[in-house]
Amino acid sequence: MVNVKTKENRISRLREKMLHIPDICIQRAYWWTKSYMETEGEPEVIRRAKALAKILENLPIYIDDDELIVGRSTGKERGGMLFPEIQWEYILKEIELFSSRDWDRCGSISDEEKKMVEDTLPYWKGKCTWDRFNASMPPEIRRIHGGVFFLGTSSMSGVHYGHETIDYSRLLKKGLSGIKKEAQEKLESLDLTKPEDFKKYQFLQAVIITLDAAAAFAKRYADLASHLAAQAINMHRKKELDAIASICRRVPLNPAGSFHEALQSIWFTHIVIRNEGWGPGLGFGRLDQYLYPFYQKDLSDGIITRDTARELASLFLIKVNDLAFISSTVNIETLAGFPTMVSITLGGVTPGGKDAVNELSYLLLEADEQVALNVEEITIRVNSSNSDAFLMKALEVLKKLRGKFKFVSDNTIISLLLNEGRPVEHARDYVLVGCFTPAVPSYSLDVTGGMVNAPMILELALNNGVSRITGEQVGPATGDPGKFKSYDDVWNAFKRQVEFFVPRMVTARNIDTQLYAEFALCPFMSAFFKPCISNGKDLIAGGTAPNIRECFGFSGVPNVGDSLAAVKKVVFDDKLIDMAGLVKALDDNFKEKDRLLQALSKAPKFGNDIDYIDTIVNDIIALFEAELGKYKGLFGSKPAVAISTGTGHLLMGTQVGATPEGRKAGEPFAEGGISPHQGRNTSGPTATLRSVSKLDHLKIRGGSVLNMKFNPDVFADEKKKVKFLSMLRTYCESGGYHVQFNIISGETLRDAQKHPENYKDLLVRVATYSAYFVELSPRMQEDIIARTEFQEV
């Protein structure tokens, strides 16, 4: 059999396989549980380590005919991992529904797999963190959880934190063996008579178990490759398999010796991290920085060419797509479209402050141009020292991929980290994790934030603490809103509601964080965080403290702003109606109140560069920041404001009645986070960018999300691209934080709705991630179409 495989069709074949709907893989859930059944009574951190080792011993392994970078995260091609130690019940209840639910559908599982789950998962009853959380949650906190504190905690989302980027450069320099040596040295230096040292001893033991297990996992692949090589008929493939086998024998155990080895090493390590405790947004960080020495050396030694390096990079980017975020039907409404989000950060400056862009930065953009799948999430740091050539290259690829990349401002984020007291070298070395959160690899834990339904807080202020949808008293009675005599009265009621909810949210989070610190430890991942080894403390148990960022994601902030501005303008400036009349209209969902609705809708809206409203949005952010600043997270961290919604703006909207901005009950809130409400930013793109960049982003330490939709016309020629670039740079240099684009016309999206079969790989920016348009619910598709489309006029 002659099997001629060109690079292009190798890549396109492997890419095609990632476009199938995902399959649930029950292997992790099964083996993790089996191990836990065997380790009752042992220290928790050791149990976690042994469970990880058990999976890595038993996970079915597979090498595809086309692969050069090998290793699967699950037992399936595009698999979904399950974490029963966080939540088990929904898995049993919904496992058969996964293949038939409205969206985020998966392939169906076999009867045998179903039985494996049914036999083991009930073990977690009362033991998983979500059960423990529910058991320890005070009733008054339970009341806000899922309501105002919409997707409050990690336990509720059913996964691990996931917003980490390990120090991959350390892995590549030292190998697992080098890191193990460090752990052993630390372990030997302990004084076991001291109770605190004994805890460290257990942690370091666990680290060593996991490092050995990871090395053994790679060896399984080496053996498989050798075995396949012995059987191979095609001599070219036999050679490739021999090379794969020898690479898998060397890494990740040893320091990487080549570009190919480096990619294989970080990939194996990432698989292990995923199996230990995955959550969306685990990152690779600055791939163009730590891989560059290997690329350069191989290139000058003649081991690779630019083309073969790009092929490897493409294969690597395809590989990271082998995992899909599977979650309960409730949760996928807030994070629809399988947002696995593997963050890769390119560009920016070096720790020394010099332009960090190198040949590999370009090469990775080109690789993604070819791959263009939804999981690999490229963030481009925009620094004034980065060349136009690089950013233009990014825009070119951006245009072809209809958006996809995120852009963040180096100015803003470096200032933000310096303001937190980080050393300047760390601040300059930041990466993005998760959707939009800044993190310093190896030095900080950046925990994702629950979503806060901010418009619901405003509703309570305008209804004496009672939800308009359920009629329940959810917040404190802050006075009859019909009697409010000034804008200050309205603001103060809102402030009092915020003061009520913030400490309760912090409590809920601290309960959750405490449970994770006890039961969701990640000794393997911790091994790649410097302070964790030196402090002898797990990352999840506060190993990097005080460098911990606990985010609270506030959703619908533009709606709260638009609403407050409308009250101020229509009730108190123009005196078109009094507060009692407004409240009545909200109660009636504006029935027969067309005129009022019209006046409220005409009041200034966020996103048009109107200070009247923009300053109100800034006031709201400052209020959240000040309130959160009064409390401390579990490891002494200062809770951070983030402005984000995921796709929760649809569901959160259904929980809130009519709002004074002119929104009727149940309608969605603003998408993204800080994006102006869909269709309300009508003054042109710079007006939207100005509204956002004028906010005090140093107070939004958890980050924020701005989505903008442009017609492809704006990239019609080189001159326009240059204008686009200068617009992007100006935004980043004038205080903006994040921006991302959908470069697509409404007609194309409508056509994709009609003919989904032609648009299988059409990516759109949903929240801060890309999803396949045709995999989204019709409601989410409409939401994307409703966003303001900027075009040349």
């Binding site: 067309d594 005409k602 793109p685 007006a687 204008k723 200068s726 006029v793």
Partner: protein, 314 residues
């Protein structure tokens, strides 16, 4: 001109009548621009895509799809210009009777009745455009004053332009060139960049299609060229009316003699303005079956043969 008889609203000379502002335009000049559209134009081009820019007073804008047929406007109209159209279950406006007094706008709750045109003082307008200054600076952009015809409100436009220029903001003026007075001409003479529309070299065709002769337009152009102004010529490509197979070379030859010409933009015919005709109660009469793209590209090739720097689109 007939339109002046209805010009009773524009009594306040301190203010300019603006019908649209776009923040962050990639067209209408160099760099990123904020474009201000002024109301009022001496020409009546058959293909005009901004019909709401023609009259120099605020005009009633009626968006029929938003009308809920509540009838409040019928009761307040002093001219009895509004009636119910029972077939559509919407109101309809008799534009012959309507004097744009705006009484109906005050009672319209749905927003289907509004004005085209808002008055601004020079300072108010300047405060709005200066917000984008950082974007001008980084991109080599600025303000573009278009319309309508900016010179049709000469005092306001001149004062606004000067205010921008005193603040180091680049000003492009998008003009039809029909400046008949000293006050109007000095706007063109002092703008940083002229986007100069050229519809036809043939005086008869020009009069037929735009309502005025091109004599003044061409003589102004020659004068401004002589002064060394930065000029971008903009030619709407309207089959049979502006550009034809016969006149392409003649136009090209004419343009190639203009020393201070920086570029020629070919603006292909489009129908985006149709909705605005409907909102004004007018009909867009022009339609064409011709292949615009082919014609535009052919024009470009011929122009380039004459050494002209040609761009498709503005």
């Amino acid at each position: 001109m007939a339109i002046t008889e209805k010009n009773k609203h524009n009594t306040d000379n301190e203010k300019g009548l603006v019908f649209h502002i776009i923040h962050g335009s990639f067209v209408d000049g160099y760099g990123i621009r904020t474009t201000v559209f002024l109301k009022g134009c001496p020409l009546r081009c058959a293909w005009c895509c901004n019909p709401e820019g023609q009259a120099s007073y605020p005009e009633l804008k009626y968006t029929i799809k938003d009308c809920n047929n509540c009838g409040r406007c019928i009761d307040v109209c002093p001219k009895n210009a509004i009636k119910v159209n029972p077939l559509l279950e919407k109101v309809q406006i008799d534009r012959k009777l309507c004097d744009n007094c705006g009484a109906c706008i005050g009672v319209c709750y749905t927003g289907s009745l509004q004005y085209f045109g808002t008055y601004y003082t020079v300072d108010e307008l300047f405060d709005i455009i200066k917000k984008d200054e950082q974007y001008y600076r980084s991109s080599g952009g600025g303000v573009t004053i278009g319309g309508g015809e900016p010179t049709f409100q000469p005092d306001f436009t001149y004062a606004f332009m000067k205010k921008c220029q005193e603040n180091y903001i680049h000003v492009a003026v998008d003009t039809c060139g029909y400046a008949t007075t000293e006050e109007q001409f000095r706007i063109l003479a002092e703008a940083n960049l002229l986007l100069y529309d050229l519809k036809s070299l043939d005086p008869n065709a020009h009069t037929k299609n735009t309502g005025v002769s091109n004599e003044i337009i061409l003589s102004n152009l020659k004068m401004l060229n002589g002064m060394g102004k930065s000029i971008i010529i903009r030619i709407p490509v309207i089959p049979r009316l502006t550009v034809t197979n016969e006149n392409m070379e003649i136009i090209a030859a004419f343009l190639s003699r203009l020393k201070s010409l920086e570029r020629v933009d070919l603006l292909a015919y489009h129908t985006y303005g149709t909705i605005k005709y409907e909102q004004l109660g007018r009909k867009y009469k022009l339609s064409t079956q011709a292949n615009i793209q082919e014609l535009t590209e052919k024009t470009k090739r011929i122009f380039e043969r004459y050494g002209l720097n040609v761009q498709l689109g503005g």
